[in-house]
């Protein structure tokens, strides 16, 4: 049994083990609610519009986008970095809290990892279509070819990025899947219908819960947890080198890797909050994802928000302190008061100022305010990427090359399409996959009187 002096009980309402399985699996065993179909239609509609815009992009070309010779990276890269950032929280949540032995993660990590997989998938579409000739994407693999063999440039951050993103997608998906195997077995053994038994039985890979399986399962999660922690930090550092390795004012800074990693975890945790509050609202999971869980995430967000604020201030300070004419211009003329000043101040307010409201307990315990702030943070993080990508590119070293940028409907539709894909993925997750890691949650279930007080429970860890 798990006893925590600091956090108290992790599950409300004196539940037995079978009650835990039953309540978490209720949405899977129940009939599909009507709102689910309605929401699915909406997200598929968005997805369809996205497909249409992708079709235009591929059949006509990148010319249908608003990007130009100066601002060659527009919404595509902004949205790519935004989705990857959101995708970081799942792994960050499971891994860092696993390493720090924060047991309260068990109620949230499944949802966070699901979000990761869908978000990284959404992200990977942007660079693919920005290639212009996506059907030749395999040129980026270093494979023996008839062109020499000519190898790819291993010094290029864009190649590192490709390796990192594909590795991250594969690893987070398999980490997520193997965590679900024991829960699929629970569904198999509790399901009434034959079809459900067969389908989940297949996905459960013959799991029985024997000590031989558990022992190796623990070894596996230990190994994956340990190395995925390195991966979380390195993937977004690599994304940041896409910018930092170039010699552009506002990009060419050493603060970029940690700044990007922190920003990614920030937006991801905000998205986790959005997701779990939705889950609480729709599926009545308040006993598992308690107010104390939401409170803990809010406290983490205060801390990360302070780091974000510090990073923004550091960038501005260093721009002045470096005495570089270009850096000073970029920050003091262009970002703070230039054509895109609105985006800068929106970013600053949403990421560094508004989350500070979480200092107040009254804010943290009102779910609708927390929900709104979590959305605001995600919008703010989107503006951060806009600010980094567009302001720097639009004001080059050469005033003759200056250009402004605004997206066309094709780019907007592409983004809306990925939002639809994300929503559809989340809805499928709600419907067909246990939203909370049942077996992990059972291991932290704490009963006030174990076995009616006959035996004293031992606590481990």
């Amino acid at each position: 049994m798990y006893n925590s002096a600091v956090r108290g009980k992790l599950i409300d309402g004196e539940k037995s083990f079978s009650q835990i399985s039953k309540e978490i699996l209720a949405p899977i065993h129940a009939k599909t609610p009507l709102w689910w179909y309605a929401a699915m239609m909406v997200s598929l509609g968005m997805f369809g519009f996205g497909l249409y815009c992708k079709y235009i992009t591929v059949s006509t070309g990148i010319g249908t986008w608003g990007v130009n010779n100066s601002v060659a990276w527009g919404w595509a890269i902004i949205n790519f970095v935004w989705w990857i950032g959101i995708g970081h929280a799942g792994t960050a949540f499971s891994i860092f809290l696993l390493i720090l032995r924060q047991k309260w993660r068990t109620a949230i990590n499944r949802a966070a990892e699901a979000m990761t997989v869908v978000a990284v998938f959404c992200a990977s579409l942007f660079p693919l279509l920005h290639m212009g000739r996506p059907w030749l994407f395999f040129f980026i693999f270093p494979y023996p070819n008839t062109r020499g063999p000519l190898w790819v440039n291993f010094n290029s951050p864009l190649f590192w990025d490709f390796v990192a993103i594909s590795a991250y997608l594969l690893i987070s998906a398999s980490f997520w899947y193997f965590g679900m195997v024991p829960d699929f077995a629970t569904i198999r053994d509790t399901a009434k219908s034959k079809i459900k038994k067969a389908v989940y039985g297949f996905f459960a890979f013959g799991w029985t819960g024997s000590s031989r399986e558990w022992l190796r399962f623990e070894g596996l999660s230990f190994v994956l947890g340990g190395i995925a922690a390195v991966l979380v930090v390195s993937v977004h550092s690599i994304v940041s080198t896409d910018f930092a390795v170039s010699v552009q004012a506002g990009w060419h800074t050493t603060i970029f890797p940690p700044y990007f990693v922190i920003g990614a975890i920030f937006s991801g945790f905000a998205m986790v909050l959005t997701l779990v509050i939705t889950m609480r609202g729709l599926y009545n999971m308040n006993d598992f994802i308690t107010d104390r869980h939401v409170d803990a995430v809010c406290r983490i967000l205060i801390f990360i928000s302070l780091i974000m604020g510090t990073a923004y201030m550091t960038e501005i300070f260093i721009a002045w302190y470096s005495a570089s004419e270009y850096e000073t211009y970029m920050f003091f003329k262009n970002r703070l008061f230039g054509d895109y000043a609105f985006q800068f101040w929106a970013m600053f307010t949403a990421n560094a100022v508004i989350p500070q409201l979480f200092w107040f307990k009254a804010v943290r315990k009102r779910m609708w305010i927390v929900f709104i702030i979590s959305i605001i943070i995600n919008i703010g993080m989107w503006f951060e990427r806009f600010n980094i990508v567009v302001t720097t590119l639009s004001r080059d070293y050469l005033p003759a090359a200056w250009a402004n940028y605004s997206p066309t409907y094709v780019e907007i539709g592409f983004f809306v399409g990925t939002l639809g894909m994300f929503l559809a993925g989340v809805l499928l997750f709600f419907r067909y996959i246990p939203m909370i890691a049942i077996s992990e949650l059972k291991s932290v279930a704490k009963f006030d009187k174990p076995n009616n007080g006959q035996l004293k429970a031992k606590s481990h860890e």
Binding site: G148, W160, L170, F205, E213, L215, F217, I227, S439, S443
Partner: protein, 165 residues
């Protein structure tokens, strides 16, 4: 089924561990223990061990060497190209790809090892002793032939907190 088994079924972790330890003192070991979540006392007490972490280390070692070797071969020996005035063997910038690809190799190989060693793979049919062992019951399985001498004391310990099925 050719063999006969005795199942000890418990409602929670504490009673299971208590019975397991009492039986272990008597020298009676279950063939297998099925639990809804990992119980560390059982995993440590059972005469099984796993070397999956050692395997992962060696996968990582060989993957790192292999990838670094490939990058050096491709960029230095097979088709050297000057990029931005950097030397052919731009070792520091090879590290990034090496780290990420090593992590990927470790993950995939360890997953396959897990799948092979724990015998958890697609298409496997589960051998279920007790329907609720993945839900809320903790089940110890004993081979009836192996414990012929101790069956009375075994049953006494099992029924103290659990029941026999």
């Amino acid at each position: 089924m050719s063999k006969k088994y005795i199942l000890g079924v418990f409602d929670d972790e504490a009673t299971l561990v208590d019975a397991f330890e009492k039986l272990k003192d008597k020298g009676v070991m279950p063939v297998e223990v099925y639990t809804p979540y990992p119980v560390h006392e059982i995993l440590e007490g059972m005469p099984i061990k796993t070397r999956i972490t050692h395997a992962a280390f060696f996968y990582g070692l060989f993957a790192a060497l292999g990838i670094l070797g490939f990058l050096t071969y491709a960029a230095v020996i097979d088709w050297p190209l000057r990029y931005g005035g950097k030397p052919f063997n731009a070792f520091p910038s090879f590290i990034v790809v090496t780290i990420v690809a090593t992590i990927l190799s470790i993950t995939l190989l360890t997953l396959f090892t897990f799948s092979a060693r724990a015998k958890v793979f697609p298409g496997k049919k589960a051998e279920i002793f007790h329907e609720r062992a993945t839900d809320d019951k903790f089940v110890m399985v004993f081979d009836e032939d192996g414990i012929a001498n101790d069956s009375e004391s075994l049953k006494a310990i099992l029924t103290e907190h659990g029941k026999i099925e």
